[in-house]
């Protein structure tokens, strides 16, 4: 009679939790009850009742009778798993190395990304009161670029008078400080001259923020108008090891000298602070402070407030609206009338953003803010590399499983359960992942400086960071160990011991490896295509003809401010320097490339127009080699004339531009400046932007000061020429630092961020290719071993080496091709998105894809060839002699 059996699973469960001494008696009783149940109510119900009864045994009265908790696991088996895993790692060195390299790079990437995210999120959180510190912002109706979809304009730059108005009118505000500028100014101490960043703030700055004081009495910082607080690094630079307190410094602000007294030193702004201050002086010292204070039309400084602890920022809205009403009602009404804006439109409102949210706020531009998208991109890259590494492990484990089958068969035959085998293989994977973790920590140590460079961060490895990082690494390692171990272990443990031991099935069919390799290659392909396109775009940006000659031009700021004196000194410099044959030309401009811009709005015939305005002298166009389309250049004697670009001519719709006048500074007395020339459009802004209307103007009273000299060097001996410039500058302006850069570098700096991402992308691609090639190398090796006999027989039958080589490589080439077909559309889509951020970009042509495929194929072929060549060259007598 065929006895029905109780459910096995339930029995195993009972055996797992029940103390062995008791298990037999209990199980026997359960069996007995089961047999009775079968007779009474049928097999199904009996089985159900059996399971239920087992579950009822899972109670403290039984479980707690276990002598020690470790009997939950089988200790002996675990030590055996570890031993076997270790032996396997040592025995199959090549796979261990391939996998460890891949996994450790993957884990290292993950840890770096984790550090990156952690740093991003740590921004500004170190202030003890950060939760009640807010940045005030304006949301104003944009009368300049009228756009129905985005009619509003957001900015953190506010009126100078706002700070005092807030203190006066809003009771919830405890402290408020303006915070503007970190531009470099000239600082003199005794006979030494420095150029250091200067910040204008209010004394409340030190009450609101926690930046650490190093010397001086924090409570009296900036209590006098001519006090200055230095940062540690600037104090060390100026005073060395001397005590800086109470020393006198001279700073030059907008051409005027100002005596200040050092009253304190604070720590430098940490890398994760949104406020990146330099030396700090009172707002009252800012140029045009008095004028700005009463001018509610000029938005020129950010403002921070600290609220009382229990104040709700939403409650400030009425007070802020009151300030708008009180100071700006008139001008708002005027604007509405002038620009025909509906009565109910809110022209200007103030809002608050918490200090902690500033960093990832992309609506309002701020010096150190960052786009959360960067985090996603980096995370995506790390994930890609990790997946590629995991696939290596899986496909290598599957393809090489032939050697493990006997072990599985024997283990099963002597009673190993499937779950035990799964555990055993998982232990192997996790052990490998942990090994990789150690390597990856070393990698992080090595690569962190480069990573900081690439991402523009200053992450340091302090003990907490290392601890947290190792924790993350441990999690990632454990997770990927289990993940990549799971499929091979499921597959291997599912082998039938009888057929394995009787050698019924010849070759292991691990069909799943192919899709995995395709996936892996598709990912690498994606990265290859993307980085190729990015590299090309960068190359395009840096080599595109910008419409002017940017090489061998020295850009030197006079550091004298925006005034007549600065213009005159450039003239003097020209007269001196042009005597030397090494110097080709010297010209002056109000703003050099990538050092900002100024844009004037003006109304002509009731229509609002705007143009970028540059004050230049008569040497500007020849010095930069800008092409004149029509008319003539300025002469040294011209005044109040303009040269415009073609875009402006189009914008104005002029037929004969040389007959026109342009009233760009809305002079009510005259018809404006005469247009004397038209220059060909050149890229005075970065290539992210279209060429907009622009004018060059010369000696228009009060508008045409030159601040920067552009010096074209004629000889190839740049150091010698620089010496000449420096010596003469020292003679002409002994109290000003020699502060220069090269024009082509300035221009290239506009694309620094893109360059950075291209670098990261290239690096990730490099690693991805490396890891997938290692994997491919391993696969090809196993493949060659599996086919040794086949090759031997083929050679005996007369196959040429060439045929065998083709046979060995055929499938890999096919896989690589399929992968690229999969990767191409996705990368095309991604890169189109990226290129949209440039006004001038390359076309994504078929050649990029072709080139990527060629690169991929060549790399793949080179990788597999080692094995196929070896397999091809082997003497068939060697491989077949045992048959």
């Amino acid at each position: 009679m065929n006895q029905p059996d109780p459910p096995k699973r339930a029995i195993r469960f009972l055996e797992w939790f029940c103390p062995p001494a008791l298990a037999e008696g209990i199980l026997g009783d359960l069996y007995e009850a089961f047999d009775q149940d079968v007779e009474r109510m049928g097999v199904k119900s009996a089985r159900r009742r059996f399971t239920w009864n087992v579950i009822r045994f899972f109670r403290p009265g039984i479980i707690l009778r276990n002598n020690y908790s470790l009997t939950f696991f089988n200790n002996n088996m675990w030590s055996n798993y570890l031993k076997i895993a270790g032996r396997n790692l040592v025995k199959r060195k090549m796979y261990t190395v391939i996998n460890a390299v891949g996994l450790s790079i993957g884990i290292a990437f993950c840890m770096l990304i984790f550090l990156f995210i952690r740093d991003e999120r740590s921004f500004d959180k170190f202030h003890s009161k950060s939760a009640s510190i807010y940045r005030v912002e304006e949301k104003s109706y944009d009368t300049w670029d009228r756009d129905a979809e985005q009619p509003y304009f957001y900015s953190a730059w506010l009126q100078t008078g706002l700070r005092d108005a807030i203190i006066e009118d809003i009771p919830q505000v405890k402290y408020a400080t303006r915070y503007s500028g970190s531009n470099n100014v000239v600082v003199q101490y005794e006979s030494k001259v420095f150029s250091e960043p200067l910040t204008f703030a209010d004394p409340d700055f030190f009450s609101i923020f926690d930046f650490k004081s190093l010397s001086g009495n924090r409570d009296t910082y900036l209590s006098e108008k001519h006090d200055i607080v230095l940062t540690r690094s600037i104090a060390e630079k100026i005073f060395g090891s001397d005590d800086p307190l109470d020393r006198q410094l001279t700073i030059t602000l907008n051409g005027e000298n100002l005596q200040v007294t050092v009253t304190g030193v604070i720590e430098d702004a940490p890398a994760n602070s949104s406020l990146d201050y330099g030396m700090i002086v009172r707002q009252e010292n800012r140029p045009y402070f008095e004028r700005n204070l009463s001018n509610w039309q000029s938005f020129n400084t950010p403002t921070f407030v600290e609220l009382y602890e229990n104040a709700d920022p939403d409650d400030l809205a009425p007070g802020l609206d009151g300030i708008v009403e009180k100071y700006m009602a008139e001008s708002i009404a005027r604007d509405k009338e002038e620009y025909n804006i509906a009565e109910d439109v809110e022209m200007l409102t103030y809002h608050l953003t918490n200090l902690e949210d500033i960093h990832l706020d992309t609506d309002i531009s701020w010096t150190r803010s960052s786009d959360p998208q960067h985090t996603y991109v980096l995370g995506g890259l790390a994930l890609l590399i990790l997946v590629i590494a995991c696939i290596n492990y899986i496909s290598l484990a599957l393809t090489s499983s032939a050697g493990r089958r006997n072990e599985v068969g024997i283990r099963k035959a002597i009673g190993a359960r499937r779950s035990q085998l799964i555990t055993q293989f998982s232990v192997e994977a996790v052990l490998l992942a942990l090994l990789s973790l150690i390597i990856s920590i070393v990698l992080v140590y090595l690569f962190l400086p480069n990573f900081n460079d690439f991402t523009g961060k200053g992450i340091e490895l302090d003990p907490t960071t290392v601890l947290v990082m190792t924790g993350t690494g441990l999690l990632v390692a454990g997770f990927i160990g289990l993940l990549s171990g799971s499929y091979p272990s499921l597959y291997l443990s599912g082998l039938n011991p009888i057929s394995v031991l009787k050698r019924l099935s010849g070759r292991v069919k691990a069909g799943f490896t192919r899709p995995l390799v395709v996936l892996q290659f598709a990912m690498s392909g994606l990265l290859i295509i993307c980085s190729l396109i990015m590299l090309r775009q960068m190359n395009f940006l840096t080599s595109k003809n910008l419409g002017y000659k940017q090489d061998q031009v020295v850009v030197m700021n006079t550091n004298m401010g925006y005034n007549e004196q600065s213009s005159r000194i450039i003239e003097t410099l020209r007269q001196t320097l042009t005597q030397f044959p090494e110097i080709e030309a010297v010209s002056g401009t109000s703003t050099s490339f990538n050092q900002g811009w100024s844009r004037n709005g003006y109304t002509i015939d009731g229509e609002q127009k705007s143009a970028y305005v540059y004050a230049v002298d008569h040497e500007y166009i020849p010095t930069l080699g800008i092409e004149l389309k029509e008319g003539r250049n300025f002469t040294a004697l011209d005044s109040n004339m303009v040269i415009v670009n073609e875009a402006l001519v189009r914008d104005m719709g002029w037929e004969n531009p040389l007959d026109e006048y342009l009233n760009w500074h809305e002079d009510s007395l005259s018809q404006g400046s005469k247009v004397i020339g038209v220059v060909q459009d050149y890229h005075f802004l970065s290539l992210e932007q279209q060429i907009e209307p622009m004018l060059l103007q010369n000696k228009t009273e009060a508008y045409a000061h030159l601040t920067t000299a552009l010096i074209r060097i004629g000889s190839d001996n740049i150091p010698a020429a620089m010496d000449i410039v420096e010596q003469n500058w020292k003679k002409i302006a002994p109290d000003k630092p020699f502060d220069y850069s090269f024009l082509d570098e300035d221009v290239a700096r506009q694309y620094e961020q893109y360059k950075r991402w291209t670098n990261i992308m290239t690096l990730a691609t490099g690693f991805a290719i490396l890891i997938s090639c290692l994997g491919l190398f391993g696969l090809a090796g196993i493949n060659a071993v599996n086919k040794t006999k086949e090759i031997g027989i083929r050679k005996v039958m007369g196959a040429e080496s060439w045929n065998i080589f083709v046979m060995m490589n055929k499938q890999f080439i096919l896989l690589a091709l399929v992968s690229f077909v999969l990767a191409a559309p996705l990368s095309w889509w991604l890169m189109r998105k990226w290129l949209e951020s440039f006004s001038y970009s390359i076309e994504i042509g078929w050649d990029v894809f072709a080139l990527s495929i060629v690169i991929g194929l060549v790399v793949a072929l080179l990788t597999v060839s080692y094995h196929s060549v070896r397999a091809t060259l082997i003497n068939p007598a060697e491989t077949l002699k045992y048959e």
Binding site: P6, L22, E24, G25, I26, L27, G28, D29, L30, Y31, E32, A33, D35, N53, R56, F57, R59, G61, I62, R65
Partner: protein, 110 residues
Amino acid sequence: MNKAYLGEFEELVLTMVGILGEEAYGNAVVEEIEKQLEREVNLSAVHVTLYRLEDKGLVKSEMGGATSTRGGRRKRYFAITNAGLSLLRDLQENRIKLWKLLPDLKFSNL
């Protein structure tokens, strides 16, 4: 000396072990309780109680011989110890003593 305290169910199981004599194992106790008292008890509860009684020294256990039924598992036989027996006897005497102190109300309200 304080006598070990026994719960109602413990006392019941201990009694059954005594009644069953040589044939006392988990399932038998369950069946005996069912038979004598028509009370459904759970096997796991009986087992847990038996082990607890064993801890207290009121019963002792040993494994029986191999069987072909019961999935090949041996039975764990329990036998009442002298301590167990004397405890049962004490309990019984105490109960009778108390019973006798009860006033004659037995039938009055029925």
